[in-house]
Symmetry: C2
DNA sequence: CACGAAATTAGAATTAATCTAAATCTTGAC
DNA sequence: GTCAAGATTTAGATTAATTCTAATTTCGTG
């Protein structure tokens, strides 16, 4: 369990009651929540938090490298506390987004892309999770 | 240059003046346009086309397998007339989305995903195009 | 404690997309 | 050819995600 207060400080972010609540709502959350979901969760954590503050804080957290956004769901941005390289699997039945460890997959053939300066990449997989 | 009328018929779609204009606007378009961009283009092609009709027609075209949607751009769906498997490169400077041929890249290690039933996947790359 | 900067806020504004219900075409049966 | 049934189109209302605005509150420092 990450300590939200320490985490904010480590990223050079002035901690406030609202930011701590928002950080707590997102830092250990592996479900790839939307801003709206984070708002609901943060409001449960005692602080008075407005929608605008959630959007402001998430934008700041991303700028400071504490979180990343992922463009994976139609119509809405999701937030990802996993800032390491990784891939994503999307369950087509439930919409659940699951992290896939970076070293599970290898992408070969990037020498074909010499016209491109690649900053980052990931594999996006869609299907169903077995059980 | 694909013939829009024939293309509609081949996909079991009743052709109308509006649908032909919309199909022409999207079928040879490799820029991954949004519905709004397709509306503007279709309206130039002489037919009277409303926004609702563009959304209706694009939804139908996707259902019939004539187009695919891609979730690549923040906040909006883009349409892709390339229904073959392929990857995407996104130029971070301009936002331009470029198709990368399927066989330029190989993804290895899918045996690590035996818990998952994979229907499709693609590599999404971000960076800058050199010139 | 006072002051200026930073943070928060409610609500308005914007944008993409969907919905609604009425108007307008087609098409096939006769 | 005529007409009803069904398909298509439409303007505008609605919804949802996000950003903006401008006023208020809180904070850190001297």
């Amino acid at each position: 369990m990450k300590n939200a207060l320490t985490f904010l400080q480590d990223h050079g972010i002035q901690p406030t009651a609202q930011r701590v609540a928002i950080a707590e709502a997102v830092l250990d959350n592996t479900t790839h929540p939307t801003a709206e979901e984070i708002l609901v969760d943060a409001q449960k954590r005692c602080a008075i938090v407005s929608r605008a503050t959630v959007y402001n804080a998430l934008k700041l957290f991303v700028e400071k490298g504490m979180l990343r956004t992922q463009i994976i769901r139609e119509g809405t941005v999701v937030y990802d506390p996993n800032t390491q390289n990784h891939h994503h699997f999307i369950d087509e039945e439930s919409g659940t987004i699951i992290d896939i460890p970076w070293d599970w997959l290898k992408v070969q053939g990037k020498q074909n892309l010499e016209e491109y300066d690649i900053h980052e990449y990931q594999v996006i997989l869609r299907g169903r999770k077995k059980r």
